[in-house]
Symmetry: C2
Subunit: 358 residues, 2 copies
């Protein structure tokens, strides 16, 4: 229902209604000027042609330095989402199942369903601080399991997978010869340090992107780091689907990486303040929630709530949130994206508090 | 082998070698300045966010006027290639076969193969001026046929499907309830008028893009016009793969359409001159070919040639062309893209003439 709500919110907006959109992970912050100028400069230099399906050499090399891998292990994708889709497409094409901790990012489920793959959920709960139970996870793996998908930091809870738990998951995966796809799009702006999948070695896959780290959501650029065999297959898939990410966008991303420390410090600070503000407001209600360890979601629980009806009715009040059912079996939860200026956020949070009181 | 040659050409270039690249349909012409400025302007206005998986309303409406359909029938795709892939993905997901006149654009075959669909080719020959035989086409259609793919004007021959033949294909398709996907990326800059699939009504699909018409290849933007049911399915697929084409690119495309008559006149003239130049040079050899009716390929035949070996050895001489085997069973043919400035083109064509004499 996540995408339906978004299309409805866009429609209402196009009719002139003011909607505070806290339903998707699309920040209100502007893409930094330096990144825009780099794209413009590249366009003027003629970087508007077809290019390699692997991505530009300069960007792959830069990323290989950042992640301490070979450039041949890096492939540029059309956003992290295409990284996830194309990897799942290759690994789940012939069926099988995928193990995913829930609540989980909507797209994993929709992609698996679209590919005809079975989804096996490791349900986690607010009450146990979203802890992933290793025994449950291990018990779900069978001979048809093709991959485990992790999202760390996690969407929609903005929680971090505990390092020991992550160690355990990797151990299980390695023992059973299962590939982990680790989606780490929030890791570079996390409030606390997270352990990264590449630190473990082994034949696992990192998927991430520039969208969240640099407020480049609508630019559609991300990357996958994997073994060269998979990178080659992904490039072949790019060749028959997208050709390549526009080169001027790749040059903008390269500029973003060069300025990473100065650009992301500011972005992270703003999200931290918003998370604090939201926690302050929500903690005065009976809503239960865990404090975000990373940008930029809160996933409160309201006893007895039907979050789908709630989200639809809240939309008529000018606030868009995502129902918990979009992330698994979480009807009493809803997801707030802290992706509006603080003033709007305050207004929206107050409306949410009122609405959950009713 | 088309994409392998391209990656090899890019590699040679990155090693500092000068390669005249006539192997892919990527013009040397620059994207018109007005289009670049429109993109830059949109970026600065914050058009850098997620947006509708259907595409921007303004662009869909403009295109609906151009093609005399409803805006709901239009969906913006990541280049025409994604339009082709995603439509084939939806129609051929559960197997079946697809009927395609050959020689055909490489990607159709690779996509079908990737999806596990069978390809049934209606072979056409230079000697009969690439005429599609209706009886052969009809005889290939069976209960598992899911679609017919046409490309008009055709790649790699730059020939136009004769209007009476097209009438016949549509009649057969309608009689048998088969959908035609008509890829018309070269139609707006064709040297002669071509009949368009939408003129027939019926439940057929137009796929096209901005790449060739406006020299926007590397921007990755195209569109599909189809019934609303298919448009909705394509949007759902966009949601789990690409999200949306960057809005600033969609605004650039809108500007392109606004300036279409002035921009494309010039582009078309240049290709016409190049085609003339190439025909003049090649007609002095024993190569056989048909004169292009549209930009921007020539597909000569050289008796006894192994075009794969030929293309690889020519690459070492600094000229990249595509072997005929990339377009079907055409080992004696090769494809020249007229996508270099006239001086380079002349040099390359002379090298090609020399090489085919050997």
């Amino acid at each position: 229902m996540l995408y339906e709500i978004n299309e409805k919110a866009l429609k209402l907006e196009s009719q002139g209604k003011k909607i505070i959109k806290l339903n998707i992970g699309d920040p209100d912050l502007a893409t930094p000027t330096e990144i825009i100028e780099a794209a413009y400069d590249a366009m003027k230099r003629g970087k508007t042609k077809y290019s390699s399906a692997y991505g530009e050499k300069s960007l792959r090399e830069k990323l290989s330095n950042v992640h301490n891998v070979y450039a041949d292990n890096v492939i540029i994708t059309l956003g992290a989402k295409w990284g996830v889709f194309s990897t799942m497409y290759l690994l789940l094409k012939d069926g099988g199942n995928v193990v995913i901790p829930s609540p989980y990012w909507t797209a994993y489920g929709l992609i698996a369903k679209n590919l005809g793959a079975e989804i096996k959920l490791v349900k986690t709960e607010l009450d146990s601080n979203w802890k992933i139970d290793l025994e449950t996870l291990e018990s779900l793996i069978d001979r048809d399991t093709r991959m485990i998908i992790l999202n760390n930091p996690r969407n929609p809870t903005s929680s971090i997978i505990d390092e020991k738990v992550l160690d355990g998951i990797v151990r299980i995966a390695n023992d059973k010869g299962i590939t982990i796809l680790s989606d780490e799009v929030y890791a570079d702006i996390s409030f606390v340090k997270t352990k990264r999948i590449l630190e473990y070695g082994g034949d696992h896959i990192l998927v991430t992107g520039f969208s969240k780290t640099f407020t480049m959501t609508g630019w559609r650029i991300g990357y996958v780091i994997a073994n060269t065999g998979l990178v080659e297959k992904l490039a072949k898939l790019n060749q028959i689907t997208l050709t390549n990410v526009p080169v001027f966008i790749q040059e903008a991303a390269l500029k973003a990486l060069e300025l990473q420390s100065e650009l992301t410090g500011e972005i992270k600070r703003e999200y931290y303040e918003r998370a604090k503000l939201a926690c302050d407001i929500l903690s005065k209600t009976s809503l239960k929630f865990s404090r975000p360890s990373a940008p930029f979601y809160i996933f409160p629980k309201c006893r007895g709530l039907d979050s789908e009806k709630f989200a639809l009715s809240l939309l008529d009040d000018g606030v868009a949130v995502a129902p918990g059912t979009s992330f698994g079996d979480y009807r009493e939860h809803f997801r707030i994206s802290l992706t509006a200026p603080r003033n709007d956020l305050k207004k929206a949070l107050n409306k949410i508090c009122e609405a959950t009181l009713e």
